[in-house]
């Protein structure tokens, strides 16, 4: 999905604010959101991490950039809870008013009226799925990544599309996020770490002697 979440290489996001060295949770609401992931999982509306990541990618883009990390999670969880029929947005708005707060703030969630159905649990707790099929590529091979965008969830960042790199690690088979996020099965594929030279990614703007490594599934590699 060509969403605002795909941030690698984007410009204009300013300097990095690392002045505050914080505890894990700044404020209680962030821990509420964290706890909601367990609720959503127990209710069966959140079945896997890929589905959750995609639910976050589907939130309002302005909220994505301004509501901070747990605000994004909240939007993703609200997508899943509403799509799964646990809550309605009218109910949430009414509760905000009952609690005495302003209900006109920007809402991150944008639940779909035709949501994907993810109706299976993971085969194993971890996403590793060793494969009998031989990997198509070996460490040291040069590869070219797919140049076209994906309409759904994917883990091929836009900045690494249509680029030439070198396989530096092979990780055997893993659940394919592009399929699993949408409830279309785990369909494991071989996973590789691919090294891209800075110049290949950024041209003349690249800094000297920089290499960026990205973990890519076999179907992301076309050559």
């Amino acid at each position: 999905m060509d969403g605002v979440h795909d941030l690698g290489g984007k410009q204009g996001h300013g300097s990095i604010d690392n002045a505050v060295d914080e505890t894990a949770f700044h404020e209680r609401w962030e821990a509420i959101v964290f706890a909601l992931t367990n609720v959503a999982a127990e209710l069966g509306v959140l079945r896997n991490t890929d589905q959750f990541r995609h639910a976050i990618e589907r939130i309002d883009p302005v909220a994505y950039l301004s509501h901070t990390y747990y605000g994004r999670w909240l939007g993703g969880l609200e997508n899943l809870l509403v799509e799964g029929g646990i809550l309605t947005q009218a109910q949430i708005r009414a509760r905000i008013e009952v609690l005495g707060y302003d209900s006109t703030g920007l809402v991150a969630a944008r639940p779909s009226t035709e949501p994907d159905v993810v109706d299976y649990d993971a085969e194993h707790h971890v996403s590793s799925r060793p494969l009998e099929d031989q990997p198509k590529f070996r460490v040291g091979d040069g590869v070219l990544t797919r140049g076209t965008p994906s309409t759904g969830h994917t883990r091929l960042p836009a900045y690494a599309r249509g680029k030439r790199g070198e396989v530096v690690m092979w990780h055997d088979g893993w659940v394919l996020p592009d399929s699993n996020a949408h409830g279309r099965g785990e369909n494991p594929e071989h996973l590789y770490t691919v090294a891209f030279d800075g110049g290949e990614l950024w041209g003349d703007a690249a800094e000297p002697r920089t290499v960026v490594h990205v973990d890519l599934f076999e179907s992301y590699l076309i050559l």
Partner: protein, 189 residues
């Protein structure tokens, strides 16, 4: 009462509704806070680094198969399906990011700091790592290669920082204090 952010208000409303529906308890929220503020954090990764600094055989195992090498610690609260540890040397500097979301080795480093999850770090570190590192106070000579690791799948990365010479004469507790979260992400040397 200070002005609450819209997302904080909304989280409170969701909590209220889900408690009423018996899907959530306030205790469950408190447990999350205790777990991640006290039991899961960068002190876990620091123990791994300290062991690798002290024991060359362990260091070799850690670099060869990070997942297996950390099994003995039985860390909780981190879902690391596969760990890859990358070593800083005099000529290579490693730094970790997740540009697509905010993947991070929770079991070793706890929950990530806010800047790691913010758009500025995620967008810039792959494009201008030297400039970003300099902002963190890490100024690298041009002959040092910079390796950025974008955690785009379920592999998690941790940096093994260079061992300071002073560590040789220190006891383990003093060594642990030298090893910072930022060094294991790769934004400190």
């Amino acid at each position: 009462m200070s002005e609450l952010k819209p997302q904080a208000i909304r989280a409170e409303a969701l909590e209220s509704l889900l408690i009423e529906q018996n899907h959530l308890t306030a205790e469950a929220v408190d447990e999350v806070i205790i777990r991640y503020n006290e039991r899961v954090g960068p002190m876990n990764g620091a123990r791994v680094v300290a062991k690798a600094w002290a024991d060359p055989d362990y260091k070799a195992c850690l670099l060869e198969d990070g997942t297996k090498a950390i099994e003995e610690f039985e860390f909780e609260g981190g879902e690391i399906d596969k760990l890859v540890v990358v070593e800083n040397t005099a000529t290579v500097h490693n730094v970790v990011v997740c540009t697509l979301c905010s993947c991070y080795p929770w079991g070793l480093l706890g929950l990530p700091p806010r800047w790691y999850k913010d758009p500025a770090y995620r967008s810039r570190i792959v494009r201008e790592p030297r400039a970003v590192l300099a902002e963190f106070g890490v100024v690298l000579d041009d002959d040092v290669e910079v390796k950025v690791w974008d955690s785009s799948a379920e592999v998690r990365y941790m940096v093994l920082p260079m061992r300071p010479d002073a560590a040789a004469a220190m006891d383990e507790r003093a060594v642990l204090e030298l090893i910072t979260r930022d060094a294991m992400i790769g934004v400190a040397r």
